[in-house]
Amino acid sequence: MIRFDSVTKIYPSQARPALDDISLEIEKGEFVFLVGASGSGKSTFLRLVLREEKTTSGTVFVAGKDVGTLSNWKVPQLRRQIGTVFQDFRLLPNKTVFENVAFGLEVTGRPQHAVMKVVPEVLELVGLSGKEDRYPHELSGGEQQRVAIARAFANRPMILIADEPTGNLDPHTSVGLMKLLDRINRTGTTVVMATHDAAIVDQMRKRVIELDRGLLIRDQSRGVYGFAR
């Protein structure tokens, strides 16, 4: 589903590569944790998958396509196949829960009747039925992140990318959120989650890819966050 072929990324203003000759493959339906300290290259990894950045050398394949050669106007097509969730939720404060999820569908050109059908479905999946008309500020952090997940998942993407989704949440809420991501993973969606949350990684026992200063230092199936911590 995602394949990195000797990928190196050097940002113009920096001497040290953000990613240094990374090669790995993530299969369809996998659940992968991307761990590492700040500046280890996790975000760059995700940005390359989303084609927000291009590699300096090497190739990134998403769903069999070389995203580096994708023309600009085709990038939106790629992103419709990838759902994205962030630490800061990125919800629209002046739209309700329902409207926030619907917005993601509407702007990609889904017809109204499809929106009316899909939004209640995903809201039920993430456990927010009955809170459709709330505004983001009326929800807890965990609930806001569920809205973001609902929006990311509404398009039924092949891949769900989560960049520290539990970063702003307490441990208990985080566990609930991980259950939700696990459920989404079971529908066949590939989940790639960058995180600092050792407890979650240790508990989930999924594949762990660890980056350190741009280098791939560990790729372990059913791994834990780290040994020397």
Partner: protein
């Protein structure tokens, strides 16, 4: 993205930056009005030029009873001299047409032009000279030939190139026109810059929305369309205001003059010219805003 959604996004954007939008509309209106004024000044001048130059060519004034004695030592022109001059004129290959204007005709013309003027009561037909009005095939080059041939001829008081007088008038008007264009273009530049700022501010204030749109894979067009629409709105409303201003100016000032003074009716542009200018302004308003919005957004909405 559905058109209704694009429209509603644009409307939200305009409402959210109400002050900025109003400023942009006003500046656009003022800039386009100035530009339109420059357009009309130019057109008016071309029109005047065509009108005057079409009518006035070379005048050969004949000696009359009151003529200067140095050029007319023998007094008023005789019938034989008049016929000779006319025959000579008609024989010249450079001459396209010759009109004879008698004292009476000159008086009628004067009366028509100086309507209501106090001068009219002092002037009698005899005070005005009779003349030949000569239309040249090629006025720029042939004037000297004709002038040298008839200046000092028997019965001719003087040869006047009316165009020379007009040239001086139009030289002054040209300066006026250049100033009008300068102001119009400077105003247009101000308008372009302000619209660029407005679009940037709109893009900045909606960066959350556009960020999410990019994230979920909205097409570039869907992301840009609301901003383009905002720009077009500013351009259209500005152009309409500017056109209304030009119309008001025309109806209240020029048209009023035309009704009062019939001579002006022939000299001033008609409403058709204002329609034309309004159309040009609308095109410029929409064209400029679309281009500016589009270019201004490229940097902001990079994938």
């Amino acid at each position: 993205m559905r058109p209704s959604l694009i429209v509603s996004e644009a409307r939200t954007g305009l409402r959210r930056n109400m002050t900025m939008t109003t400023a942009a509309v006003l500046v656009t209106a003022i800039a386009l009005a100035m530009f339109g004024a420059a357009l009309l000044v130019s057109r008016q001048m071309n029109y005047l030029k065509g009108y005057w130059y079409g009518k006035i060519e070379v005048s050969i004034y004949l000696c009359g009873d009151n003529s200067d004695t140095t050029s007319c030592p023998d007094g008023a022109v005789t019938d034989a001299q008049r016929q000779q001059i006319q025959a000579d004129l008609e024989a010249l290959p450079q001459v396209e047409k010759v009109y004879y204007e008698s004292k009476q005709q000159a008086y009628e013309k004067f009366k028509e032009q100086a309507q209501d003027s106090a001068m009219l009561s002092y002037i009698t037909p005899d005070a005005l000279p009779e003349s030949f009005r000569v239309k040249l095939v090629n006025p720029e080059q042939d004037y000297t030939i004709v002038a040298s041939k008839f200046d000092g001829a028997q019965g001719v008081e003087r040869v006047v190139d009316q165009r020379a007088i007009l040239d001086r008038l139009f030289a002054a008007l040209n300066v006026f026109r250049a100033i009008a264009w300068l102001i119009g273009i400077v105003a247009l530049v101000a308008m372009v810059l302000l619209i660029a700022v407005v679009i940037r501010v709109a893009a900045f204030s909606r960066r959350r929305e556009t960020g999410i749109m990019r994230l979920v894979g909205a097409s570039n067009f869907s992301i840009q369309a609301p901003f383009l629409l905002e720009g077009v709105f500013v351009g259209v409303v500005g152009a309409l205001l500017a056109s209304s201003f030009l119309w008001a100016l025309y109806l209240l000032f020029f048209n009023a003059l035309k009704v009062k003074i019939p001579l002006f009716a022939a000299l001033f542009l008609s409403g058709g010219a204002i329609w034309w200018a309004s159309g040009v302004l609308l095109l410029i308003g929409v064209g400029v805003t679309v281009v500016v919005s589009f270019l201004g957004l490229q940097r902001y909405l990079k994938v």
